[in-house]
Symmetry: C2
Subunit: 341 residues, 2 copies
């Protein structure tokens, strides 16, 4: 038997530990050949006075395994705390954030039954660089950065993704009628690189009307690539109208390292009640299994999850009268998936 | 009879002239007591080498009338042209952009029949200040500015709007988990001013999940206030899912001056074919009539428009089989509204 792939795991805060336990239970039962290295990140670490929410020893594990499965964390209110997500993304150069937003109609209620969109979000630049100034008490500035190498990397990733996943079209969202230099560069790079992929259709929309189309007729999109902040907002929109932000997993991909997560937050008010839906993190773990070259396990998990959803076994957040059959807790949902492996 | 109120009118580019003629025809027939001062702005002026797309003489008219009804314009491709919208907004301090997004179900097809949201968008700051740098060929920067006076002004406007329009709740969208200084200031100001309006509910959402809720369950929102760029994107989203961006008018309000427009663009490919829907601009003109203190004319126009829509007399862009009754052109639509005054 092949050697186990070491992966770094953070159980996170709020509902994090529950959905992580459920996820690890399912993928282990499915035969994932992994060795789990737990690290502590998030609220407790922040409150110990560590501004990035992660200990030096945890960095060491991440540098070694290069694979990170991360539950949502809680960043304490107030100044001085840096987003762990953003720190991890930039420290390891996780430049591509891949967010599939798929409808599971008729098993999950949605107004967009045929939706199957992949948002590819640039993951390091834009206003996420964390460069902010206080000019006076009354005047604040944030810097938005867009670079050519950063734009080339993400646009190329989007076209390569489209090609290898048998997708037909890549759409670019940006706002170069206002941000002529920054978004203008992104658009220009998109047009240049699109020419290298004559087998794949391409189109661009100013983000306002593009977002309106996405929210109204998501079936007309396939792969959509965009700068960081638009991607943050519109991947939540796309995931939610496909069914629920609770059903979307996400892959943060770099040259060496990769991080996998749910796109939703730590929902502290739902914590510890066996209520939370582990689907987002589980689908993140499916993307991870493909990444670490265990595609058969990934398929097994994905099919069992799909069968559970199709059998109407739903957690409270996606439970819909007349559509769902059985309302279950986190653990029972995980058991139902395991039973269908 | 009272003296006529002078208003400055720009016929714009693309479909602009057609929808402006239709709009002026309707409001004149309805008894609007106005004196029209036409100015030339947009494509032709840009191409004469005037980077803001507006002549000095036109500024003079605007300064005098303080009321501007503007059709969409086309900004030529390429560098060097400044957005006329943005120039007008900042020159006259039009700090509040008010965009009602209303469903007209069952007369206009929508997935959100009960939607009635007003987006109040800050209209001068954010990345719209036009401050961009080219550091190197490969590295571009835009500056996002948020000020306390600017934030106070727009948040107070939103609460005052809610109070005088009998609205129950004001929601704030921002992203202060990442932009702690800029969006943090906006959020802080919102919380402070909300306390002065105990009769109106208030709530805040991080813009990613807020946008997801808005796109999925817009019925749960009432008045929503936000910084400029989020407001640009999400007002298009809200207008489109309510029925169509083609049905939304917008008011840009300053201390002295105000500008009224449709939220859609100049659609050059539809120009000159008697195809365009004048509804967005007409509803902008309705907001203008209220602003210049001719509320009875405003109501008359609005009711006649509503009756036309309810009678199923629709332009191509909103024509839906089984919902609409008659497909008409721009002129015939205007005549139908006039017949219902
Ligand atoms: C938690 C937050 C910093 C993060 C982001 O803005 O990127 C989240 O919203 C996401 O989309 O992963
Ligand atoms: C034309 C463009 C500059 C403008 C904006 O971005 O504000 C438009 O999209 C709008 O929403 O009025």
């Amino acid at each position: 038997m092949a050697e186990k792939t070491p992966i770094t795991v953070a159980y996170g805060d709020g509902i994090g530990p529950e959905i992580m336990s459920a996820t690890l239970h399912i993928i282990t039962e499915a035969g994932a050949n992994i060795e789990i290295e737990p690290i502590e990140v998030g609220e407790k670490v922040y409150l110990r006075g560590i501004s990035a929410g992660i200990e030096p020893s945890a960095w060491e594990s991440l540098r070694r395994t290069q694979v990170f499965l991360k539950a949502p964390i809680t960043t304490p209110q107030g100044g001085g705390y840096k987003s762990l997500n953003v720190t991890t993304r930039t420290t390891f150069g996780l430049y591509a954030n891949v967010r599939p937003c798929v409808a599971y109609y008729p098993f999950i209620d949605t107004k967009h039954p045929n939706m199957d969109v992949v948002i590819i979000r640039e993951n390091e630049e834009d206003t996420y660089t964390g460069i902010e100034y206080r000019q006076t008490h009354d005047m604040m500035e944030s810097l938005k950065l867009i670079s050519r190498p950063g734009s080339e990397r993400i646009v190329r990733y989007a076209f390569e993704y489209a090609r290898s996943n048998n997708r037909k079209k890549v759409t670019c969202f940006m706002k170069d009628n206002i941000m002529k230099l920054t978004d203008g560069l992104f658009h220009k790079v998109f047009d240049e690189i699109a020419k290298e992929y004559p087998d794949i259709q391409n189109e661009s929309w100013i983000v306002d009307i593009g977002a309106a189309k996405l929210a109204d007729t998501p079936e007309s999109f396939d792969v959509v690539v965009m700068p960081n902040l638009y991607g943050d907002i519109l991947s939540d929109v796309a995931a939610q109208i496909a069914g629920s932000v609770g059903l979307a997993g996400s892959a943060n991909i770099g040259e060496q390292c990769a991080m996998f997560e749910a796109i939703h937050g730590s929902a502290p008010r739902r914590a510890g009640q066996n209520l939370a839906n582990p689907s987002g993190l589980l689908l993140g773990a499916v993307l991870m299994l493909v990444h670490i070259n265990q595609p058969d396990v990934a398929t097994r998990v994905h099919n069992a999850w799909l069968k559970t959803i199709e059998d109407g076994i739903h957690t409270y957040d996606i439970y819909t009268e007349g559509v769902s059959k059985q309302k279950v807790g986190t653990k029972e949902f995980a058991d139902a998936v395991v039973a269908r492996l």
